[in-house]
């Protein structure tokens, strides 16, 4: 469960990115996070995985106050959270297989398990044939599949997606959405940021709508 109480965030240079945000997301829920460009979607997600700090307010993730986590221990929070970006963030000099293994090496998974789990993750996103390709040899949708496989391979409780379909054609975007839904059906909480109206129309999930840093609606 994610609980946010009266959250404020101001960037250097006095941009008020988030103003008095309070909301709650239940475990296992799938929510869309929407709002125009600059509304504060990315900022909110970054705060959730401790990539940005915030000025005021409180955030509890499964009851843990994330502002109280020491910097050296932030990794424990990040291990519970998988993140997917609009620009994929794959390592260009590693193969698909290595990119997914990399995520497990980073959390020091036992090496015997890495090959097996990488293979499983590739199967889940339907990319087993491309395991030895390099990211730039893949189409955008395929690269995003790799990024999703990487985010899921360490079995996170929460999946944050920052406009993961922003660069993709609508049909392919829908395929990607289905991968998130599949993860959600396994119990993963999903926060899916998007400003695409088609995406929102395609599904009937709860919509958290931000506008200029303020919470406009949560339905």
């Amino acid at each position: 469960m994610i609980q946010i109480f009266n959250l404020y965030k101001t960037y250097k240079g006095n941009t008020q990115a988030l103003i008095d945000i309070s909301l709650e997301i239940k475990s296992g829920e799938f929510v869309f996070l929407t709002g125009q460009s600059g509304a504060g979607k990315s900022t909110l997600l970054k705060i959730l995985y401790s990539w940005e700090n915030f000025d005021k307010g409180q955030i509890l993730i499964n009851g843990i106050n994330i502002a109280k986590i020491r910097e050296d221990n932030q990794y424990t929070l990040r291990r519970k959270i998988g993140v997917v970006f609009q620009d994929y963030r794959l390592l260009p000099r590693k193969t698909v297989f290595e990119n997914i293994s990399f995520a497990q090496e980073a959390v020091e998974s036992p090496s015997e398990r890495i090959r097996f789990k990488t293979w499983e993750a590739l199967k889940k996103v339907g990319l087993t044939q491309k395991k030895d390709s390099f990211p730039l040899q893949l189409a955008g949708g395929e690269q995003q599949r790799v990024a999703i496989a990487r985010a899921l391979v360490n079995s996170p409780e929460i999946l944050l997606a920052d406009e993961p379909t922003g660069n993709l054609d609508p049909e392919i975007a829908l395929e990607i959405l289905k991968l998130f839904e599949h993860a959600n059906s396994q119990g993963v909480t999903v926060i899916f940021a998007t400003h695409s109206a088609e995406m929102l129309k395609a599904r009937d999930y709860r919509v958290i709508n931000l506008g200029k840093g303020r919470l406009i609606s949560t339905k």
Binding site: Y49, W51, Y75, R89, F102, A103, A106
Partner: protein, 300 residues
């Protein structure tokens, strides 16, 4: 342990992939250390020279020919009670004369024609070794000189004291140079490692994002810095060894004829160990500064 072996492996591959940058940094480190070690080499040899002389220093107390039994035993008591005196030997008038004649046997005729023995009896004191033994000798000499029955005292080479002062100064100088060098080294390493960090910026960001422990991210870079500094220091020791061997071949014979019992020697093992330890420390600290700064401020 697993963390370190992995760090070592990654550091090694990092170095391999930016071999030119690393080579420049290793060579800079090597040159800097070589200069320090050259000073150390000179210092170590001067030091051992002084020590050799030091061992030969003895205090000779010449006795009046007319010294009374009582005065002589007072004198001997005084010497026996001095903790710094290691050994005493008595050289009688007759013994001194025989020794003297032996040394100048070619002039035996003249000496024999003298008809009497001009040499005084003497006590020769050896002092146990300590850093301030020259001062102890000086002080004791003053005391003895004032005693009845003492004609004069002699402790050769009082200029050793001045030389020792010079060496003490040189030691300070070396410490200062060493300190500066360490600071320079830390800067060089931190800069090289910064380059290495920036060339892997995305990878580091991603690792942090995926939930890697800070130590897991840091150690490969710490290892890289330590390896570079260590290799630089080892190479410099190699260079200085070659310089030493060259000096030995060139100068050992002439040195040995000038000063008996003097051998040109290499930097003592303890110094070499300090140098290696110092290189590891500065390698570690230099990289630590860079990677910490990166993780704290430039990650996001």
């Amino acid at each position: 342990m697993k963390l370190l072996t992995r760090a070592f492996r990654i550091a090694f591959s990092n170095i391999k992939s930016s071999i030119d940058v690393c080579a420049v940094s290793v060579i800079t480190i090597m040159v800097a250390f070589s200069i320090l070690e050259l000073f150390l080499l000179v210092f170590a040899n001067l030091n051992s020279l002084v020590e050799t002389w030091n061992k030969q220093v003895q205090l000779i107390v010449y006795l009046d020919d007319s010294v009374s039994k009582k005065d002589q035993s007072t004198l001997e008591n005084l010497i026996a009670n001095n903790k710094n005196v290691q050994a005493t030997s008595f050289v009688s008038k007759g013994q001194a004369w025989t020794d003297f004649k032996k040394t100048f046997s070619d002039k035996a005729a003249i000496l024999n024609s003298l008809g009497f023995n001009p040499l005084p009896a003497s006590l020769r004191l050896q002092f146990s070794y300590s850093s301030d033994r020259l001062k102890a000798i000086q002080k004791f000499a003053k005391t003895l000189e004032a005693q009845n029955g003492v004609e004069s005292v002699e402790y050769g080479k009082s200029w050793i004291l001045k030389f020792e002062t010079f060496l003490a100064f040189l030691r300070l100088f070396l410490l200062a140079v060493g300190g500066l060098l360490i600071v320079g080294l830390i800067l060089i390493i931190s800069n090289t490692i910064k380059l290495s960090i920036y060339s892997r910026k995305e990878e580091i960001q991603l690792m942090a994002l995926l939930g890697a422990r800070p130590n897991f991210i840091k150690w490969p870079f710490l290892m890289e810095g330590m390896l570079q500094a260590l290799v630089g220091a080892l190479l410099s020791l190699g260079v200085i060894k070659i310089v030493y061997l060259y000096m030995k071949v060139q100068f050992q014979d002439s040195m040995a004829s000038l000063f008996r019992g003097i051998y040109i020697q290499f930097i003592p093992d303890s110094f070499a160990i300090y140098i290696l330890a110092g290189s590891l420390f500065s390698g570690w600290l230099g990289s630590y500064i860079s990677i910490n700064r990166f993780l704290k401020s430039e990650l996001k």
